[in-house]
Amino acid sequence: MADLASRISKPEDAPAAADAGASTSAAETKIETAEPSNLVDNEYEVEIKLSDLQNDKENPLFSVSSFEELGLSKAINDGLLAMNFKKPSKIQERALPLMLSDPPRNMIAQSQSGTGKTAAFVLTVLSRVDLTKPTQPQALILAPSRELARQIQMVVQTVGQFCENLIVEAAIPGSISRETGVKSSVVVGTPGTVMDLVRRRQFDVSHLKVLVIDEADNMLDQQGMGEQCVRVKNMLPKTIQILLFSATFPDKVLQYAEKYAPNANQMKLKQQELTVKGISQMYMDCPAEKDKYDILCKLYGLMTIGSSVIFVRTRDSATEIQRRMEADGHKVSALHGAYEGASRDALLDDFRSGRSKVLITTNVLARGIDVSTVSMVINYDIPMKGPGDREPDAETYLHRIGRTGRFGRVGVSISFVYDRKSFDALSHIAEFYGIDLIQLSPDDWDFTEQKVQEVIKSSRAKADYAPNATSGSG
């Protein structure tokens, strides 16, 4: 029966079925009649179908304008071109004019992972900074982790590589000289370190014009950091422009955010619009927990994978997975709380540069980290929260899988379930975001491979139908 069904649907699919070389003759005649005969070829060409362009318009990465039209300076524009940014994404196109308008107004902006939030606020920061005062701090960007702060620092430097006299420093433990203090126009840091520097009078905040808080829901919600963020804000000039960014803004945090950044322009997403359609989300039904290692290694033959991130719950399992995967020929970085400062930086740098291609980590790196080559994310353990890890952590799930599918690329996420609890937790998360999770099983790898290929193919098509990133502002 299935055979019959697939044959019936063939004609429509035929143009796309690259591998169906020997498809039915019906399909082929259809192509021949549908397209102009080769005899009159090349004389006139048919314009792209409207539907294809409309698909693009729905895409959070689509925009009508160019960066030049947004009024950015030539130096900044060249920086973007060098980074292969061709056109603004939707959030950049819509949020930038609001953020750059004068008098400056606060902004709370939400957009899916990998759609260019960082570039959006970096462009704002660079446009606001007066480069004739290179050592006077003028913009402060706060991020929840050391890694993320370094990453943002790098983005500011790269976008601004043609801006003369641009100095960017990271206010993270061990990076600002105790003797000189902060001597840069742009500062990217974690709240604790920034607070210390200000207290020690090593960071002159009197001329700060912009405060950006990345991963704002996380920063304002967490007990420790929420408090720190408020304290930092109280040390800054009252007129400062505050920009809050995140892919997720749970309701209760949003209320708080509105107090933190009063009278802000807002760009928000509905809950069902949060997932990035270009990411194929699947789950692997493992017979038992002990089988997970072997299944994990098998996954790497099923599809073409660039780099991958594996999220685990404990350091011990991270170490064990690392051992097994290295034996299988993988170059692995395992990064978790057991490592400190510089060695963490080195591990992540290896991964970024491609010297290692598998990153095993705990929740430390669930948010924000942008390594463009990541094409697969594994939830080796389903993310949980609350006392005794009882509750499924939907936000963390979303941020984790958002490490792939960056800026319109195709990505895959596979979550491992092996018992009732993990299965229920994952189902809850899937329901929360309205995701269709595809089941995979480790019994027949030929079959699983085929299934994975199909899922990837359909997600790639769906990437064009991704929802609008900016429904409503004001």
Partner: protein, 536 residues
């Protein structure tokens, strides 16, 4: 064109005398002194003469080759025609026999099968699933003598190798020019091209000869698309084979996944980092060559750009090799292309280790046939996914234009602009990573010497201004970035001139100053900023 078979000596001939330190020379203080200037002029003149002589020699050789190619192509066509006709005859006989049987069974409406004959034979070859023919028959003749027992002998005698499966629409009118079929470049509708080599069974042979001599300005017959089509047929054949060959089924999937995994594991973590992966890929291919699983043998000539004669001392000279071997090369090539798209599209630096492994695998003499590699299989894939590297052009705003440029379609829709651009960048970097390999210190022969890189770049930068597309700009940019040094090492000052053309003159004459066009100029700016190299 890009096609001439890899000749060992060439890579040396084409490189300029001062291989290294060119960059340093250029930045030298006395670069503008008069003596040096004279000296350079002198050298340049000599070099010019040498290049010219060489070029003249090559063009004559090339013309001869083209002529030979044309004759061979014609011969191939004739053979195909004969085979097809034989096949039709056999099918018709079979059909007649069938019909007679059917008449004996009670209520057969005789009108039904009668008008079919012409239409029915070709589908008989296809993997339609079930209706009429036994599935294994397409492989029938290519079975190895010894292993015949492995595959069911149910097939009727048909003297065609399985390529014949493909050339299916014999009823189509002859195409005006074989090149007109270039629009299936996206690989989705390759059927149209198949007409070229098959020739129509009904039409007079003269029709076939009319279309044979292609317009000389265009690349000759697009052999790469033919290879690509043959590979599709090969994959289909493997699918059929594993239905009947348990040993093959048990192993083939694992081999495929091991190769895909190995390509994915490649890193730029320094020398020796990828040894395990190289060895795994090589071992799988070697195993396939030994053919312990008794898969069907096929004619390797189906996957080479040019026909080959036996070569003394070659590891393999036989007229047929195991289909599994080609299947694995095909998987390897496919995996490499995918890796370029997925990984190098995001981070161009990841292309290089892949290029190294490509060079190692295809320069391994044990995997050669009649003295040369099967890198044509990889190039056939490049030809389909990134046609601009081979001189194809198109307008991004039209359906046909996009198809010519290799803009991919998924489920009948063009993939998004961002996705397309990422693909093209990855493939551009990947092409450079494959084509700019230095075999100077190696005893092996470069399977894809740097002249192909030059040709590809020339084909892009020589595009008429009005036809310049963003796709070309991005491919060109990706080809150059990270490979400036290697390009200069191979071509010396000629490389600088080429880069000036590509990064300054080419974008300057583009009709529309899009971001893609501007980003070419930014590459020149970056070169000046980072290395001090001033191009124009």
């Amino acid at each position: 064109m890009t096609g001439s078979s890899p000749a060992p000596r060439r890579s040396h001939q084409w490189s300029s005398p001062q291989r290294t330190q060119v960059l340093a020379d250029l930045l030298n203080d006395d670069r503008n002194s008069e003596t040096r200037h004279r000296h350079l002029l002198e050298t340049a003149k000599k070099e010019h003469d040498r290049v010219r002589e060489e070029a003249e020699r090559v063009i004559i050789q090339h013309q001869k080759k083209e002529e030979r190619q044309r004759l061979l192509e014609e011969k191939r066509k004739e053979e195909n025609r004969i085979q097809l006709e034989e096949q039709i005859a056999a099918e018709r006989l079979k059909l007649l026999a069938l019909k007679e049987k059917k008449v004996e069974i009670p209520p057969a409406p005789p009108a039904q099968p009668q008008p079919e004959p012409a239409k029915q034979q070709p589908p008989a070859n296809l993997a339609l699933g079930g209706p009429t023919p036994p599935p294994a028959q397409q492989l029938s003749t290519t079975q190895p003598n010894g292993q015949a027992a492995q595959t069911p002998a149910s097939a009727p005698p048909k003297p065609n190798p399985f390529v014949q499966v493909q050339p299916q629409p014999p009823l189509k009118p002859a195409v005006a020019s074989p090149f007109a079929g270039a629009n299936p470049a996206n690989g989705t509708t390759p059927v149209q091209l198949t007409t070229t080599p098959t020739a129509t069974p009904a039409a007079a042979p003269s029709a076939a000869t009319v279309q044979a001599p292609p317009p000389s300005a265009q690349p000759t017959v697009d052999r790469y698309t033919v290879i690509h089509r043959n590979l599709k047929a090969l994959r289909q054949s493997m699918k059929e084979q594993i239905k009947h060959n348990q040993a093959l089924k048990a192993r083939m999937g694992d081999m495929r996944r091991e190769i895909v995994k190995s390509i994915g594991q490649l890193t730029n973590a320094g020398a020796g980092a990828n040894q395990q992966q190289q060895e795994r890929i090589r071992a799988n291919m070697q195993e396939a060559l030994e053919n312990r699983m008794g898969c069907v043998l096929v004619d390797p000539g189906m996957f080479t750009f040019e026909p080959r004669e036996p070569v003394q001392g070659a590891a393999h000279n036989e007229p047929q090799l195991p289909s599994l071997f080609f299947y694995l090369i095909n998987i390897f090539a496919k995996g490499v292309i995918q890796q370029f798209i997925v990984e190098a599209g995001a981070n161009p630096e990841t292309a290089d280790p892949i290029g190294v492994v490509v060079a190692i695998v295809f320069s391994d003499a044990n995997l050669h046939w009649r003295g040369a590699s099967f890198i044509d299989i990889l190039m056939a894939k490049f030809r389909i996914v990134c046609p601009v590297l081979f001189g194809y052009r198109g307008n991004e705003k039209t359906e046909q234009g996009r198809a010519k440029l290799g803009w991919w379609k998924d489920n009948g829709h063009w993939i998004g602009e961002q996705a397309h651009m990422t693909r093209m960048m990855g493939l551009g970097s990947g092409f450079a990573a494959v084509a700019l390999r230095n075999f100077g210190k190696s005893a092996r022969v470069n399977p894809y010497p740097p002249r192909h890189y030059w040709v590809a770049m020339a084909k892009i930068v020589n595009t008429p201004s009005a036809e310049i597309s963003n796709t070309q700009c991005l491919v060109l940019k990706a080809m150059i970035v990270n490979y400036e040094q290697k390009f200069i090492e191979f071509y010396g000052t000629a490389a600088l001139a080429a880069m000036r053309t590509a990064l300054i003159e080419f974008p300057a004459r583009a009709p529309e100053k899009s971001a893609a066009v501007n980003s070419l100029e930014v590459v020149a700016t970056l070169l000046r900023k980072d290395t001090g190299l001033v191009l124009g």
